[in-house]
């Protein structure tokens, strides 16, 4: 690439402000999470024992290193509550992502097959719900799923059920909420790769004797794998840490890790344990995050 070096310098200068901002408000805070996850709970405000103050000098620093403890992490691996909620988060994320892929793929596929001038319209229609509030969309489902809500009314009127069914506070409601909220995140990357595919490839497959289904599995699907990867990561990672949807739609008998963290923080006021929970969650997500980062970078910078 023959980029003008003359344009490069000012562009680099432009990096300074966002760089400083992100280091200060994204990177440094993780240091604090790590630090507080190693400190001890205290009944104080803020509710943890202070660690390395800036004015302590070397001896003070040594003393605070000695005070570091892994107790919070020991608690996380010894208490079933935490292990159970980590596992549940992973299971919920895997199942939801599979459901999203199964539902999102046909929709994205159909969008890519629309006549050219209709495709932007379809894309806008898929994006618009993403602009309306997450919370509102979940709330909309509570309206429908509650005991005397619309769904039960319809089912009763059609004599499909004889008594109202409990929908709210079930896992089914939670999966519905997750699929509903994340569907645009799955559809858009899928659509982006499917729309780019050359239809001549399918004709070639047909000429070589492939049935339409064979052509799909041997040509279309493998070529759409980058989109599948992007969609899966874009949904999986945030779902693992999801809080609002399970809190409002699922029952209270088992929690996802985001809920446990929230509970430790806001209800039990145990900031060190909440921080340790966050650190472990982050560690679990590190590999998918790194893969996602590479995909994203390749996609944006390879154009």
């Amino acid at each position: 690439m023959s980029a003008r070096p003359i344009f490069t310098r000012p562009a680099r200068l432009a990096a300074i402000a966002p760089y400083v901002w992100m280091v200060l408000f994204f990177l440094v805070p993780f240091g604090f999470v790590l630090k507080i996850s190693l400190s001890q709970t205290a009944i104080a405000q803020p509710p943890y024992l202070p660690l390395f103050g800036f004015g302590d000098g070397v001896t003070g620093l040594k003393a605070s290193f000695a005070a570091l403890s892994l107790d919070n992490f020991r608690l996380l691996v010894s208490d079933n509550l935490y292990i159970a909620s980590y596992l549940r988060s992973l299971v919920v994320a895997v199942i939801s992502t599979a459901l999203l892929l199964a539902l999102g793929y046909p929709i994205a596929y159909a969008m890519a097959r629309l006549p050219r001038r209709w495709q932007p319209v379809a894309m806008t229609l898929v994006i618009v719900p993403f602009w309306t509030s997450f919370l509102i969309r979940i709330y909309a489902w509570i309206n429908i799923l509650q005991h005397d809500g619309l769904l039960n009314k319809i089912l009763l009127a059609l004599h499909i059920v004889s008594a109202p069914v409990v929908w709210l506070s079930t896992d089914a409601a939670m999966y519905l909420g997750i699929v509903y909220s994340y569907l645009p995140f799955m559809i858009l990357p899928l659509y982006a790769t499917l729309a780019k595919q050359d239809e001549a490839l399918l004709e070639a497959a047909a000429d070589l004797g492939a049935s339409r289904l064979q052509a799909f599995w041997l040509v279309t699907f493998p070529l759409s794998l980058p989109g599948v990867g992007a969609g899966v990561l874009l949904c999986f990672i945030p779902i693992v840490g999801e809080f609002v949807i399970p809190d409002l739609l699922a029952g209270s008998d088992s929690m996802m890790i985001g809920q446990t963290l929230w509970l430790e923080f806001f209800t039990n006021k145990d900031w060190p344990v909440a921080s340790a929970t966050a650190i472990v969650l982050l560690a679990l997500l590190l590999i998918p995050l790194l893969v996602y980062d590479r995909l994203q970078r390749r996609q944006l910078e390879a154009r």
Partner: protein, 271 residues
């Protein structure tokens, strides 16, 4: 099979219709219920706007809405500035030290669970002994939303023909002038879309705001959430409808504006 024939099978049509119905029906139902006269949300009692009147008399809700609006405007503006700078640096800066770290820091928050972002920012604010309220939420939202702005603007910049900038410089513009006169007008639709995305994300956020706000300065989603936990209330339907209407007007207005200004509407659709 002739290539020019429309390839819309019955399967495709069904997938599209069902998919869009799934996305839109719950919202439509919510909007209809917000005009329900009955106090029982699910019993239809005729059309009425009483729940809207109720909202406009609810001091706490109005305060929360005002707080959210201020946070959204300020954080979206800051985020647009910072995100655009970041996008320019990443697409035009070639290789520079720390570039990998920078793009990592910009992409990670897009998928990072909000509970982690919220908690880490709160711990920073506590360590800095900052008073929690308007500014802490604004800074938190700026941090999250500038990443979305950066992605939207970056994808527009990457698709831009660089020879335009080079031509401007060949004609004697210095880089700053070339950027302001040529690049900026071309990426303006993306910048505007980025601002709107940042604005709506901020207006929408519950988790990060819950962590970073202080007593007495609840945002609208925080108020709505605490009401929703207690059950469905017709007033909430009305508030939600107002928010949906507001955002719909914003999107339609912006897409019309971008169509008028550029004739190419596609850049107004981010992500």
């Amino acid at each position: 099979m002739p290539a020019s024939a429309p390839r819309l099978s019955r399967f495709n049509v069904t997938a599209l219709v069902l998919g869009l119905a799934f996305l839109y029906l719950p919202i439509v139902i919510l909007v209809i219920y917000s005009f329900n006269a009955s106090r029982l949300v699910t019993v239809w009692g005729g059309w009425s706007t009483r729940w809207y009147t109720e909202f406009f008399n609810d001091r706490a809700m109005l305060d929360a809405a005002w707080m959210s609006a201020r946070v959204a405007v300020v954080s979206a503006s800051l985020a647009t500035l910072l995100g655009t700078l970041a996008a320019v640096a990443l697409t035009r800066g070639e290789r520079f030290r720390g570039r990998t770290l920078m793009s990592g820091m910009l992409y990670a928050p897009l998928v990072m669970p909000e509970v982690i972002t919220g908690l880490s920012l709160l711990l920073l604010f506590v360590a800095l002994d900052a008073e929690r309220g308007f500014w802490t939420v604004t800074i938190a939202h700026t941090t999250l939303t500038m990443c979305f702005v950066a992605v939207v603007v970056q994808s527009r910049l990457a698709g831009l023909d660089r020879s335009l900038e080079e031509a401007a410089m060949d004609l004697g513009c210095d880089p700053a002038r070339a950027f302001l006169a040529v690049t900026l007008p071309l990426i303006f639709p993306a910048i505007a879309a980025g601002w709107m995305l940042a604005f709506t994300l901020s207006l929408d956020d519950l988790v990060i705001a819950s962590f970073t706000t202080g007593p007495g300065s609840a945002t609208l989603p925080i108020r709505i959430y605490s009401e929703v936990r207690l059950g469905v209330k017709p007033e909430i339907n009305a508030i939600c409808t107002l928010i949906i209407g507001f955002i719909a007007v914003l999107i339609v207005g912006a897409s019309l504006a971008s169509k008028l200004s550029s004739g190419r509407g596609e850049s107004a659709a981010p992500l």
